[in-house]
Subunit: 435 residues, 2 copies
């Protein structure tokens, strides 16, 4: 009998972990992702702030599984699933058959219905957005340096929405980029203040952390000159102006949206029961409700434990991936399935060079010790020796030289677009933002 065909949608933390645990086992795995790489998203903000190269945190999926003969890869966008015929539909019209399916399609940025934000804000959720954000920030500095003091103000005002780890870490990294690079390399901007404003709707930043760590991060951000606005939401986006719920209006050419995520579009394209936030309901064994051969894991799945939904983070996704791999093998052997239980080992966030907050089990760490813990854990979880080495070298360079080396405005040429002038194309992008 042929090995059961397991299709995994998504090579993020959950899908990848599941595939890794199935490597070398008696199943035929096909891993599908719209990108050809696994992305280490916790360090995405360091690509967006010119510290790391894209390839440092993105590893080709085929390279990860080059020694696993039973794991195949296909680059495709999944647009639907037919649970009756047991096939997955891709954007280019293929129907991929499965015996067992693992839905690990992840999440996407949540603009909470603010259409102008969706159109104009810069996200920080995938590599293409991080690269665009990096390019955009550098373009703002170039534009400001040829504009008079008054006119340059919106180019030097950066609004970051969302006080979770992504927003806090990016705001911190951005303030470092400004502090390290501007005085030496942009003499035209001497004496002109840059403003970084971090907007968080709840009462304190880093809401999932213990309040004392949130308060500590808050003070550290302020010490770096970042304006932290808690208890405030974005009410509207009007052209270049961000309107806050209190009525304040911020004129800024940069609006970074790190306010939250929602399940990937695939969740609403298929017909299975969903939880309130739109995530797919799963049972104790992580199967989609009513479907014996379909599992859902990670951000797209809603698993409730002790009355709470497990959060949309990499750690539960990986634990779920491991459990589903085990359950698939149990099924093959005709054994009963395991039930899932999330073990929260903690969470952490850097606020800048040498400063981080971390909750590790019962332990709250902060400052330099927290930072070392942060470094160690992140290095440990990056997949592949070369990526680990590249990231470590990037950090060492940053630590010793206080430099943000990847400050290039570069994009792949779009072949049906205007000629390959990065300088030129930046103009039209600016205009988009202005409009």
């Amino acid at each position: 009998m042929a090995a059961p065909r397991v299709v995994i949608i998504g090579a993020g933390f959950g899908g990848l972990e599941c595939a890794r645990k199935l490597a070398g086992r008696p199943v035929a795995v096909l891993l599908i992702d719209r990108n050809n790489y696994h992305l280490f998203t916790p360090l995405l903000y360091q690509v967006a702030s010119s510290l790391l190269n894209p390839s440092d945190i993105a590893r080709p999926v085929r390279s990860i599984f080059s020694h696993a003969r039973n794991v195949a890869f296909r680059q495709a966008e999944v647009v639907g699933i037919d649970f009756k015929s047991c096939t997955v539909a891709t954007a280019n019209g293929d129907a991929v058959p499965y015996d067992t399916l693992v839905i690990a399609a992840g999440s996407t940025t949540n603009y909470f219905g603010i259409e102008a934000a969706e159109r104009q804000a810069l996200g920080l959720k995938d590599l293409s957005e991080a690269l665009e954000l990096r390019n955009h920030i550098l373009r703002c500095l170039e534009t400001a340096s040829t504009t008079d003091a008054e006119g340059s103000r919106p180019w030097l005002t950066f609004v970051v929405v969302g006080g979770g780890p992504t927003g806090v870490e990016y705001a911190g990294a951005l303030s470092e980029l400004m502090r390290l690079v501007l005085p030496h390399e942009y003499p035209e901007l001497a004496g002109r203040p840059t403003r970084i404003i971090l907007v968080e709707g709840l009462a304190e930043v880093l809401p999932p952390f213990p309040p004392e760590l949130g308060a500590l991060a808050h003070r550290e951000l302020q010490r770096k000159g970042i304006e932290v606005r808690t208890g405030v939401r974005v009410a509207a986006v009007e052209g270049d102006t961000v309107v806050l719920s209190g009525g304040d209006r911020l004129e800024a050419k940069t609006l970074v949206w790190a306010a939250g995520v929602k399940p990937a579009a695939l969740a609403s394209a298929i017909h299975v029961p969903r939880a309130r936030g739109g995530r797919l309901q799963v049972d104790a064994q992580l199967r989609c409700t009513g479907l014996d051969n379909v599992y859902a894991i990670g951000d797209i799945a809603s698993f409730t434990q002790d009355g709470h939904e497990v959060p949309m983070l990499s750690a539960p996704a990986m634990q779920e991936g491991r459990l589903v791999a085990a359950n698939i093998l149990h099924s093959v052997r005709g054994e009963p399935l395991d039930t899932f239980r999330y073990r929260d080992k903690g969470s952490m966030a850097t606020v800048g060079k040498g400063v981080a907050v971390a909750r590790l089990g019962p332990l709250n760490l902060s400052g330099f010790v927290g930072w070392l813990a942060w470094l160690t854990v992140h290095l440990y979880y990056i997949i592949g020796f070369r990526n680990r080495l590249a990231v470590l070298m990037g950090w060492a360079w940053n630590y010793v030289r206080s430099d943000r080396p990847v400050r290039i405005i570069a994009r792949a040429r779009q072949r049906d677009a205007p000629p390959p002038s990065d300088g030129g194309s930046s103009l039209s992008l600016r205009d988009n933002l202005v409009d």
Copy 2:
């Protein structure tokens, strides 16, 4: 009296060298480039073949001159020059005044009037083209792996036009990428041949080299399985089909154009005498004909020595940049100007890992010794310790692990374009190529 204002158009090898020699001298230099970085073009083919990161060979201009208080930078596209009012016109409408001007705008790909090639071929002249070429090649492999043997043939056929160093080096690097990566990571393609065809119009590849080195490179390319077609030109491009001058028709989804360069568009937008190929005529002191305060250097300038135009290469550009810097300082001091003489120190090209041909003065080197010479010279000329280190590490990784690590299909998100799916956008690009 204020320091004379020197404007340099272009931060390539010529313009950058000129600016470096003027750093710390009694002139106010403004260096203008459409990109915010200096690009080490000799290694561009290694970015296009997934070996190096873009930032390894691109260094921000502002970073190079962070310690030179008299050198400023502006990112802008220069579209014209008014020699009467002594101003440079940029694409966004600025008029930048100069006392002395150095035109170092470089060159662009020459499609020799074949419009279909200009529309469809992939260039290898700047970073955006190299990134697009890298993405394209990886997409071809992904597409081929989901297509049947017959249908995948055009996706696995790669035509490289131009047997100069760029074409030879890229063809060699591409064959290595295929040899190293395909067997391990694309089991779907097992048993399917990949074809790389190098097309050169002259009788032998590497025409500027001594014939025995060209013949040696030719054999080495063939040993790597590359089909070398000399004495043949591209007659037409019809859809996916490249028609050669002999009548042969090659069906290929990839057409890389490295057939030659022509002076940048700026050369024909200004009113100064030009030589036959369109390059700007310069006198013995490298001034544009009839203009005392305007110099032209590098690919855009035509300097004739011993009856021959100096070639469009980095070495003469750098030598010209140095001479013009000296002449500008002579002018400031009221001294007579120096005249230019090009010293040809040699040229070199790699054909693959461990094999290169090099002409160094009277010496012809090849094989491993040539390769070591190639490595040393290229490392020496890369600007900046970090870039040197990054390139060296990339090479060491490649040498030891036989890996091409930067195999990610990634582009900055275009904000008015469709959603940020790299997989999705590849489809439309493929369709463009098909059409």
